[in-house]
């Protein structure tokens, strides 16, 4: 029998060798080209308004963004979405000398639109126009933000729009899951107040909008970004001329926030839903933490990239889901990590178990150098891409400004990514990805889900 098995092994080896020899190895490519972060010009006006200008690209367009350090975070408990209404009225209410239709025509003539977006920590006023119009767009945006009319005539319609959006969003399973997840971790804080009630929206008045604006808008909270191709002299002068008269306004100020750590499971019933929207996660390190890059690398290995372990498992192995992902979501001074996936209803418990298994495996066993290097290269490549468009460049610069990080966060980024070790990743998984500590939200068919919760309880005990 011994001889037989030897022959068998030999044959297998031979086959393997032949197969291996036939497979081509992908060409490795050449030497990396130099990548330097684009140069920026900074300025601060006497009233505290900061400006950042970056010449970038070959396309004759320019992106201008005013980023204000205010948003939903400054709403009181009974003022949810008041920041959004303020943004809408700021935009569509026009200025003391120009209505919205006139503004729209003017910006269209420059080849663009002006949009106002309200986030939890920041408010964004954005326009992207043909290069030659940069100074004109600056003047228009400056007028909008300093001299809003906030007319009574428009507020009813804008409140109706918010009510309609509320109704639509409440039918979206992913939004329902976010509401519950953030509401659990940030209970009693604006970050956890995802939806207003209709009654709340009904109660908002122009005076409340004006008060929100007075309390939260001003030069000290504002950074003006100009990125693309533009006449620097004329644009810089336009910024100075049109913003120097603006009130200093309030200091930058964010209310204190506490995170609630709980491993509660919340099931939101969506009868007969073919899928369950799963969010599972917990508070994590902020961008200011010394080993935040280790955390980011660990996230990319676990669920933050297409080749990540959880994605490969749930999607490419099991076929339970289409678009699973994990992410680190930062707010002012606090961060959370979560994995989100829409999985087949019947496989919800099993999906949770597989997530637990992947976390557990990384906790027990450091990733191989090959796997880790792959992820490092991916993150380094992504960093170049993130700095290769006007919007991306603004995003990076705003990230370090908002999180009060040193310039070195960007300049040393590639180096910092490459210095993360396999053991650090495993340690990070042990300390900051404890499955048994995670908050779980499931939006799906409750009668099917209740039966599968045993799988989650077992997963919590996985050692």
């Amino acid at each position: 029998m011994k001889s037989f098995s030897q022959v068998f092994v030999a044959a297998l080896t031979l086959l393997a060798t032949v197969a291996y020899a036939q497979k081509q190895t992908p060409p490795a490519g050449g030497k990396p080209k130099d990548f330097k972060l684009p140069e920026k010009k900074l300025n601060t006006l006497p009233n505290g308004l900061k400006t950042t200008m970056v010449q970038y690209g070959a396309i004759p367009k320019v992106t201008i963004q005013l980023i204000l350090k205010t948003g939903n975070v400054h709403e009181a408990e009974n003022e949810v979405w008041l920041a959004d209404l303020t943004g809408d009225l700021l935009k569509e209410g026009g200025t003391t000398t120009m209505d919205f239709k006139t503004i729209s025509k003017k910006v269209a003539g420059m080849g663009g639109d002006i949009n106002v977006g309200v986030g939890s920590d920041q408010t964004f006023i954005t326009g992207s126009v043909l290069s030659e119009f940069a100074p004109h767009l600056i003047k228009l945006m400056a007028d909008m933000i300093q001299n809003p009319k906030f007319p009574e005539s428009e507020i009813g319609r804008l409140k109706d729009d918010l009510k309609r959006n509320l109704s639509v969003q409440k039918d979206v399973p992913q939004a329902k899951a976010q509401e519950k997840f953030l509401g659990t971790i940030y209970a009693n804080h604006a970050y956890g107040r995802y939806f207003p009630t209709e009654k709340m929206l009904d109660s908002y008045t122009v005076d409340m909008v004006k008060a929100f604006y007075e309390k939260n808008f001003g030069a000290k909270r504002t950074v003006v970004y100009v990125v693309g191709k533009f006449d620097e002299g004329a644009t810089g002068k336009a910024i100075e001329d049109s913003f120097k008269g603006w009130k200093e306004g309030p200091e930058i100020s964010y209310p204190p926030v506490e995170q609630i750590k709980t491993n509660k499971v919340a099931i939101i019933d969506r009868p007969n839903a073919p899928q369950t929207t799963v969010i599972i996660g917990l508070p994590t390190l902020t961008p200011k933490a010394e080993d935040v890059v280790s955390l980011q690398v660990t996230n990319a290995i676990l669920g933050g990239s297409f080749s990540s372990r959880i994605t490969t498992n749930l999607r490419e192995d099991k076929g339970f889901t289409y678009s699973p992902f994990s992410t680190i979501q930062n707010n002012k001074g606090v961060s959370i990590w979560y994995e989100q996936a829409d999985v087949t209803s019947a496989n919800t418990g099993e999906s949770l178990q597989e997530i637990a298994k992947e976390i557990n495996k990384l906790q027990k066993e450091a990733p191989s150098e090959t796997e880790l290097n792959g992820i490092k290269n991916y993150m380094s490549g992504l960093f170049v891409l993130q700095n290769s468009s006007p919007g991306g460049i603004i995003g990076q610069l705003n990230f370090i400004d908002q999180n009060e990080l040193n310039e070195s966060y960007l300049t040393n980024r590639v180096q910092n990514i490459h210095s993360v070790t396999p053991d650090q990743v495993s340690k990070m998984a042990r300390e900051h990805f404890k499955y048994e500590d995670m908050t779980v939200v499931l939006v799906g068919d409750k009668k099917l889900l209740d039966k599968q919760m045993k799988a989650h309880e077992e997963a919590k005990k996985l050692k």
Partner: protein, 452 residues
């Protein structure tokens, strides 16, 4: 290996059309040639960032997928990531990511595309990988079963478990069109997806995935001589296939207005989409529709946005355009111009349609100034699209190579729009934007249970 001399047709940018008097006008460098096996190759340098976009476009869209296999063109797109001779399952994605790149693929009306954006020095790696899967696949039944699961979950998350799922992008072609090729469910019935077999995959690949049915576009920071050498080295040896004749995808002329209702058990607000059949691609009417699209629905100054949101307050947002699954340049068959919005139940659909009629009627009194503004918006949009990470530019170059055998069209677009006169716009509006040429689709919200 022997290679015959490449057949090279080079369009120098200075010879391209679309000369404008505008000193700010931007010209895209275009180099176009074909390999002896029929592969169309478009190169366009852009040294803005040390990155390169490699895009492969196959002349097979969901329109012409097999009749008993709805959704198969898209399912097949997933199979292109499941393994080839040299890269096993998951290895393609790993190869791209471990080399610092991102990738995607998509299935559209008239093509299926695959692209990577890589660090510039990884161009050879990307070209090798695209050639590798153009040469052949190595798919197992497990791979197929797995991706049937993934695609069914894709349909669930985007359509079946979503309020307004599939509205109007997936729905409208099915209501507006009469020819099966244009009017079937492109995402696929779940049972059709389930019935796909390995031999279907094999047959589909052999029929459509060949160099003589494809375009390779490379945009970014590369050396032309090097890029050409690699293209020849990796794609040159691939065999051509015998392509089937093109089926008749034409639509009968619409003579009567169509009004359809669709109930949505997951939604609580009504929605409406209004679609008009487009004129043929690249005609004067087509370019006029591009301008009309700008005037009617693109941007905050557009007629429909101003009337529906500001004047009437029916909605906060109006979407619209030519080809919801792409743009007005990247399709090659019957198409609609469409706009849609979500509104409140106290507004009647008729009053919304009246706003469409009124806006269209106003096209009769537009001025040259309005048209100039539309051209500025169009140019600005186009610049943003062909800037960026290279994909937008690759998309236009590949589409124009695939459908028109002329990627240099990218530089003559603005000139074509500028030729359109006020009279042409009025004539086009009268002929195409009339009730008899439109389909209205209304979503009736039928949400029965409230989730807390």
């Amino acid at each position: 290996m022997k290679y015959s001399v490449l057949v090279i047709i080079v369009f120098l940018t200075s010879c391209g059309g679309g000369k404008t008097n505008d000193p700010n006008a931007f010209q895209v460098p275009v180099e176009y040639y074909k390999l002896p096996n029929g592969l169309k190759v478009v190169l366009s340098q852009d040294a803005t960032a040390p990155t390169v976009c490699v895009a492969t476009y196959y002349n097979i869209g969901f329109r012409i997928e097999p009749r008993d296999r709805t959704g198969f063109a898209h399912l097949f797109e997933h199979m292109m990531f499941q393994g080839s001779e040299n890269l096993g399952k998951n290895e393609f994605a790993k190869l791209v990511q471990q080399n610092g790149g991102v990738f995607n693929g998509s299935t559209r009306f008239d093509f299926t595309n695959y692209f990577e954006v890589m660090p510039a020095h990884k161009l050879e790696t990307a070209l090798w990988a695209e050639a590798d899967r153009m040469k052949g696949l190595a798919i197992t039944q497990d791979n197929l079963t797995n991706q049937q699961g993934v695609v069914k979950n894709e349909v669930r998350v985007n359509v079946l478990n979503q309020p307004y799922g599939g509205f109007p992008w997936l729905d409208m072609p099915q209501y507006a069109n009469k020819n099966w090729f244009n009017a079937h469910n492109f995402y696929g019935d779940l049972k059709d997806l389930d019935s796909a077999k390995l031999e279907d995959v094999d047959k589909f690949f052999k029929t459509f995935y060949a160099p003589n049915n494809a375009v390779l576009a490379v945009v970014g920071d590369f050396e032309t001589a090097e890029a050409k050498k690699w293209v020849e080295q990796y794609f040159g040896p691939l065999a051509q296939s015998e392509l089937p004749g093109k089926p008749d995808i034409s639509e009968p002329k619409q003579e009567q207005e169509q009004v359809h209702h669709k109930s949505d058990t997951l939604a609580s607000k009504p929605a409406i989409a209004v679609a008009y059949k487009m004129p043929d691609r690249n005609t004067a009417d087509y370019y006029a529709m591009g301008l009309i699209d700008q005037l009617l629905v693109q941007g905050q100054d557009s007629k429909l946005f101003q009337k529906l949101t500001q004047e009437k307050g029916y909605t906060g947002q109006v979407s619209g355009g030519i080809n919801y699954l792409g743009n007005m340049y990247n399709y090659n068959g019957p198409m609609v111009w469409m706009a849609d919005l979500i509104y409140d139940a106290n507004v009647s659909p008729d009053s919304i349609v009246n706003v469409f009629d009124q806006s269209i009627a106003e096209l009769n009194s537009i001025t040259q100034e309005d048209v100039d503004m539309a051209i500025i918006k169009l140019r600005s949009d186009l610049y943003s699209y062909i800037g960026g990470n290279g994909f937008g530019r690759a998309d236009l170059l590949a589409s124009f190579a695939l459908f028109d055998d002329d990627p240099s069209r990218i530089n003559s677009l603005e000139g074509e729009f500028k030729k359109i006169t006020l009279d042409q716009i009025k004539k086009t509006a009268a002929e195409y934007l009339k009730p008899a040429n439109r389909t209205i689709l209304i979503v009736d919200p039928k949400k029965t249970t409230t989730t807390l």
